[in-house]
């Protein structure tokens, strides 16, 4: 006899996001989607938004790690962006996950009914939805990280049960959030994130007040139903999504060019910052192209490199493996400028 189980009903939201309970509060209105702040209502945190957008425009960048203090809306930004671009919450790998759910297992309820069926693993689900989100990624257990690295680096998931085995091609962007107070990430996993963003608390009082306003307004929407401002926010989200999709098409179509001189500059900047290996150079070029596409340009320039270096390179320095900091500094900006050939 099987009671309950994980296959809860689809909630009928865009994308059929599963919600296994009666909802956030009995009697609360349906706001048409999971209760995450609209992307256009997020105040500040420009770096995180830029990095997520670049990774969307050029998926080969390889995802984003958002690191920051408590209460800086790291998870909200990540979830809200995914909700805007896909209509779904991202496939989430929680820190309580066991390996059978990550790599795949048999469908136990079906087995108990006498049927042989496999259950889609989180990694397969992420492969089909193109994003795997890991909240508190630095709290993942070691053997889970190993499983993840194995699949991310090979692009193959081997699912083996009893006497059967199958290989699945999986490819997804890794999006993670972490609070560095709770420990760092292993360099191997850190290197798998294309971009790194450090989020900080907004200190300007007006900005803080605006954050309060948006949060409270969204609370109201969740309790009393969509307001005009909320509908406008969703409309703004749709516009932004269309813009980003347009930029993505530019990349897919090869409509953005990376001149030879700029390509050399990518290598020069990566070397000047002390990036280990060549992944930094490649990602820097891809991110510069995405940044150019994001602003509608058809040629990537040194300015695009300058804009994205702070996301691409800080976690690729050799010093990271020796306990060094991944914080981007003004000195790093100066190093980039020098490598780009600026006078000042």
């Amino acid at each position: 006899m099987f009671v309950g189980g994980g296959d809860g009903p689809d909630v009928g939201q865009p994308g059929g996001e599963r919600r296994d309970t009666a909802g956030p509060e009995t009697g609360s209105p349906d706001i048409g989607r999971p209760r995450i702040l609209p992307y256009s209502w997020i105040i500040g945190q420009d770096d995180a938004r830029t990095a997520l957008e670049l990774s969307f425009i050029e998926p080969r960048i390889g995802g984003v790690l958002i690191s920051g203090q408590r209460g800086t809306a790291k998870s909200t930004v990540a979830r809200s962006f995914n909700l805007m671009t896909t209509g779904n919450l991202p496939v989430t790998l929680p820190i309580n996950a066991t390996d059978d759910r990550i790599v795949g297992t048999l469908d136990v309820p079906a087995l108990l009914e006498g049927r042989w069926a496999e259950r889609e693993s989180l990694l397969e689900e992420a492969g089909s939805r193109k994003v795997l989100y890991v909240d508190e990624v630095n709290l993942l257990d070691d053997h889970i990280v190993n499983l993840l690295l194995d699949v991310v680096s090979t692009g193959q998931l081997v699912v083996a049960h009893a006497a059967t085995e199958r290989r699945v091609e999986v490819s997804f962007q890794l999006v993670g959030t972490m609070n560095p107070e709770e420990g760092s990430l292993r360099p191997q996993l850190l290197d798998r994130f294309g971009l790194l963003v450090e989020m900080v608390t907004e200190t300007d009082i007006d900005v803080r007040a605006l954050i309060l306003e948006r949060v409270l307004e969204f609370d109201q929407v969740c309790r009393t139903g969509p307001t005009k401002a909320y509908r406008l926010a969703l409309r703004a989200d749709r516009r932004r999504k269309d813009q980003l999709k347009g930029a993505r098409v530019m990349i897919t179509d090869g409509a953005v060019v990376l001149p030879d001189a700029v390509r050399v500059q990518c290598a020069r900047v990566a070397a000047a910052i002390g990036a280990v290996g060549h992944r930094g150079d490649v990602t820097l070029a891809r991110a510069a192209l995405a940044f150019a596409a994001r602003r509608g340009a058809d040629v990537a320039t040194a300015e695009d490199i300058r804009a994205v270096a702070r996301f691409v390179l800080p976690h690729r320095r050799g010093a990271i493996s020796r306990g060094g900091s991944a914080t981007w500094s003004e000195a790093d900006d100066a190093t980039v400028s020098k490598a780009l050939g600026d006078d000042g």
Binding site: T21, P24, D100, I102, E182, G183
Partner: protein, 657 residues
């Protein structure tokens, strides 16, 4: 002694029930006695309020030092088949997942109580971090999956004098704070603050001391929601809240919590608009001071709503709020209205037993808030004691720390087959099901349909057979500059033989390896991990040539991290770690330089000092034994001894010639 709740308790639990984002309450309680009784009272009041406001039943859950992942999430349970044939296998979702229980249309609200946050288990702490105050949550365990929007309430008790032992990340999940003494009073005593009887009752939706398990009362829920719109809040009040909220390293959560509490206070009194007095009440409920002074007739012309609000507010003059009383706390604007009955003592008219400021008759047009003074700072420190507390916690407290145990060791290691199960641990589900399926037709009772449940007999159960896993680790720190050109084997043979016999895992940290002729000195130590002593990298390390730089401090830092990781990270099976430091103690690269990769001029003895400091971090680590192999010589022959002393090692062993 009988306990009773104060009006402030009622107000707080009602706000928690009215505003789902406020459902985390940290009770600060330094009293060793009676804590359970006080917590139980808070839980009863909160359960009553939740039930009344939401119309959902409430399910109390306790988390403690022994809470495991299986207790929290879900598991498989075997129970006897009522027909008397075999056992039935059930999936049991735990209440945190907010699944409706059998036959019930809606899931109960989990009301999670933690009697002592300082000793809560790591799985429980991780659950709090991932669910409390989160808009969405996910559980993916043991073949089951659940994704939901948490609505539960969380109440934890923490001793403020020991709050440094709790992760700030965990504390951050509790938006509301209150000293438990301000919420709960013994029946024989009353809490009276600033002329207010704190134990006086206020109109409340909380069914005092309600039974959490009792049926919901839909009438209450409808009554609570009926006719209540979500109160609006003005920009000027938001700016004030942003300015007045206590700052800290926690981002925006504190101001957001205070603003939400102000909204809840307005909702509680059925208002359409959040007024200054609601903000003041919210601050007062948390014990955050809100004092007034000065005059300012200027009004923000662009803020029409703000103007409308200020029109309803009368405020004290500069002279009226000189803080003569010395009492911290709150004064609602109405308390300073011209009609205030007493020029020197203002009653707390909120009826919540909140502390109030002294004030006098006054006529003002705008409210100006004083910058936080020392008295307010002291009050804030009482509300957020973690901001000033000494960190007493271990490194990375939310990472899984598991005590190595025989049972756990049985559950790890590579699977090499199955065996007949003797208990329900590590059941090999598929082989068990296959065995049962093969016998299904023969054993099905006639009363069951052909597509009915699969019955599993005790004899069908199979458990995994696993390879044994190593339980020890040997960490070797080789300072190559201390033994240039000589073999390591005579010095370390005893340790290497032990590692071989024990099949111990190995970690090797190399300090001062030569990079080759003319190469830049290697300023950092290198580390690698190996499954055992037979790893070929170990023999290479034992034969590595010596360089000139000796980043000993970095090597010891890596050793510390390695040992911590081996002993504490994840489902570790390592019971004991042995760290062997073979060195002459002459570190000549400061730790910062190793990390930067640049050697700054004139380092002096910074390398040695950093090494001693790094060694001191090894002292006192449980299940770690440190040995220092003395390779020192004149004129610094005492350095290995000092290193041993700093790290808590026995006096260093002198190597055999």
């Amino acid at each position: 002694m009988a306990e009773r709740g104060s009006a402030r308790l009622d107000a707080l639990v009602e706000c928690m029930a009215l505003h789902p984002e406020l459902r985390g309450l940290l009770l600060l309680d330094a009293e060793p006695d009676g804590g359970e009784e006080r917590l139980a009272l808070v839980i009863r009041r909160l359960a009553g309020a939740l039930k009344a406001v939401t119309g959902r039943p409430v399910r109390e859950i306790r988390l403690g030092a022994g809470t495991s992942d299986d207790d929290l999430w879900a598991g498989l349970r075997l129970r006897p088949d009522p027909a008397g044939r075999g056992v039935l296998l059930e999936h049991v979702p735990r209440p945190l997942l907010e699944q409706p229980v059998a036959g019930a249309p809606i899931a109960p609200i989990p009301l999670v109580a933690v009697a002592d946050l300082t000793i809560v288990s790591v799985p429980a702490a991780r659950a709090i971090v991932t669910i409390a105050a989160a808009p969405v949550a996910a559980m993916e365990r043991d073949g089951f999956s659940c994704r939901w929007e948490p609505t539960g309430a969380w109440v934890a008790v923490c001793d403020p004098t020991r709050i440094g032992s709790v992760s700030p990340h965990l504390l951050d999940r509790f938006p509301l704070r209150a000293p438990i003494a301000s919420l709960v009073a013994s029946a024989s005593a009353s809490v009276s603050v600033a002329g207010s009887d704190a134990s006086s009752e206020v109109p409340s939706t909380a069914a005092a001391d309600a039974d959490p398990g009792a049926a919901p009362t839909p009438g209450d829920a409808e009554r609570a929601e009926e006719g209540r719109r979500w109160p609006a809040i003005t920009r000027s009040l938001l700016v004030e809240l942003a300015q007045r909220s206590p700052s800290g390293p926690e981002g925006h959560r504190r101001p957001v919590a205070l603003a939400r509490l102000a909204v809840a206070c307005a909702r509680r009194r059925g208002a359409d608009q959040v007024e200054w007095e609601d903000a003041a009440t919210a601050f007062g409920l948390l014990g955050v001071p809100w004092s007034h002074a000065g005059t300012d007739a200027a009004e923000d012309p662009g803020d029409a709503q703000g103007a409308s609000v200020s029109g309803r507010v009368t405020e004290p003059t500069a002279t009226s709020t000189s803080g003569q009383s010395g009492q911290s706390g709150l004064a609602t604007p109405s308390e300073h209205a011209p009609t205030a009955p007493d020029a020197t003592l203002v009653r707390d008219e909120s009826g919540l037993g909140l502390p109030v400021e002294h004030g006098g008759p006054a006529e003002l047009t705008h409210q100006v808030l004083l910058p936080t003074d020392q008295r307010e700072a002291a009050a804030l420190a009482a509300v957020y004691p973690e901001d000033d507390s000494e960190p007493l916690r271990e490194a990375e407290p939310l990472r899984l720390l598991w005590a190595a145990s025989h049972n756990l060791r049985q559950l790890r290691g590579q699977i090499v087959g199955t065996r007949a199960a003797t208990d329900l641990r590590d059941i090999a589900v598929v082989p068990s099901l296959l065995r049962a399926a093969a016998r299904r037709a023969a054993r099905r009772p006639r009363s069951l349909a052909p597509d009915g449940p699969l019955l599993i007999d005790r004899g069908d159960l199979r458990a995994y057979r696993r390879m044994p896993v190593p339980e020890q680790i040997l960490v070797l720190l080789l300072d190559h500059t201390a033994r240039p050109g000589a073999s390591w084997v005579p010095v370390l043979s005893g340790y290497l033989e032990w590692a071989y016999v024990q099949r111990a895992r190995m970690a090797v940290i190399e300090v001062g390896v030569a990079d080759g002729p003319g190469a830049v000195p290697q300023l950092h130590a290198e580390r690698f991990l190996a499954r055992g002593i037979l790893d070929p990298r170990i023999s290479s390390a034992l034969a590595a040539p010596a360089g000139t730089a000796s980043p000993l401090a970095h090597g010891l830092d890596l050793a510390h991290l390695t040992v911590l990781h081996a002993l504490r990270h994840g489902n570790t099976l390592v019971r004991e770690a042995y760290l062997v430091i073979a060195t002459d103690g002459r570190g000549n690269v400061p730790l910062a330089d190793s990390r930067l990769g640049e050697l700054r001029p004139a380092v002096g003895d910074a390398g040695v000092r950093d090494a001693l400091e790094a060694a001191s971090r090894l002292r006192g680590l449980r299940r770690l034994v440190v040995h220092v192999v003395d390779l020192g010589g004149p004129p610094y022959a005492d350095l290995p001894r000092r290193l041993a002393s700093a790290s808590g090692a026995a006096p260093p062993a002198t190597p055999r010639p």
